[in-house]
Symmetry: C2
Subunit: 195 residues, 2 copies
DNA sequence: AGCGTACTGAAACGGTCGTGTCAGTACAAT
DNA sequence: ATTGTACTGACACGACCGTTTCAGTACGCT
């Protein structure tokens, strides 16, 4: 008798996951369906379901894969985030504007808005998780004396709002210069207001 | 022979449009389908198609209806937006946090992210249009001397980014106090940096 | 050689989708 | 009374959906 239980990890699974990840970065996962996806990754719906259990589980796996990309960024930034809040925010913005991250950021925004309406779906925790990741990173960049104060939280919230708002603008307009200018100005003001 | 051409406006059409609008404010329009919607508004798919021509046209009409809500806000704000950029931004934020606008704002975010991936769909122009509306309102609040300068545009972009980023936070967290605090602090800094 | 494991293909299932067909009903205007 | 207009119900169509069934094939291990 063949296996037909969840493999949870195998060479073929990893390979198809990477291909599928590339596909959703381009096409989003709102209207994703198995047959076109399977064709794009040179496989079949049958195999995708065999390796990933169900479509819902596949979506969850893809979102986890996306988060892995983001966690890798956080590790990188943590290493050199000793320059304070605004410095860390500036580094994050540098990552956000990089053209090769557009797909991931569109996917992030899509999951974010999706989770607001359907908290039960496979993408539910994803948006909150990334937000918490960013906030935690910003907190870590703050001096310990400020980190746990009310104004420290407010400054973190403000920096994050600035980054995310500018990101929305950037994704829609593609105007790197204008948005970067606004972020720089905002961060400079945030810096100047430091006690 | 019956009409079977587009009515484009009628009492019944208006009535169903309002009901359908209430429905999508709650459920979003990503996964909207005619049969559940028709049941919710006590009608039938047949009638919806008769009155709105096609599902795509219905979605466009619903988005136009949403925009009408927003335009009404802009008219209100314009009347008392003589207090400068930060004052106007503060007024906008006051509108954004109002609980009865959550549905509209979730719908806005959904259409926004949607239009990034599928510029051909019925929601394509919607997000850009609202952004332009907001930017124009902010521009109008600026003194004429600053309105057409590069830094004027930058300050507008910054204010808008702050509002939209804080809105993302608010929609996900519901934390009115923290987000409002961040917006107020950011606007105060923007005000202090005024030449 | 025999067997278990990992993967794959073809076809079908029941379901929902947007839309079309064909029939009606209610009612104001003539 | 007749006619035209506005709306509605019942139902079927073809397409696509996620998933299942049943059949394999390729290959390492003993």
């Amino acid at each position: 008798m063949p296996t037909e239980t969840v493999p949870a990890s195998s060479a073929r699974r990893e390979e198809l996951l990477e291909k599928a990840y590339g596909y959703v970065l381009e096409h989003g996962l709102a209207g994703m369906s198995l047959r076109p996806l399977a064709a794009a990754v040179q496989s079949s719906p049958r195999v995708l379901l065999f390796l990933f259990e169900s479509k819902d589980a596949l979506v969850r796996t893809l979102l986890a894969r996306a988060r892995a990309d983001e966690v890798r960024l956080l590790k990188q930034l943590e290493a050199r985030s000793s320059g304070g809040l605004t410095r860390a925010a500036g580094e994050i913005w540098g990552w956000l504007v990089a053209a090769e991250h557009r797909g991931l950021l569109r996917l992030w925004l899509e999951s974010y808005s999706r989770s607001l309406l359907d908290p039960a779906g496979p993408w539910s925790g994803f948006a909150d998780a990334t937000v918490q990741d960013w906030l935690a990173l910003l907190a870590e960049a703050q001096p310990a004396s400020e980190r746990d104060t009310a104004t420290g939280l407010q400054r973190r919230t403000l920096a994050l709002a600035l980054l995310r708002g500018a990101l929305l603008d950037l994704l829609a307009s593609g105007d790197e210069e204008r948005t970067t200018g606004a972020v720089r100005a905002g961060l400079a003001q945030l810096d100047a207001a430091n006690p």
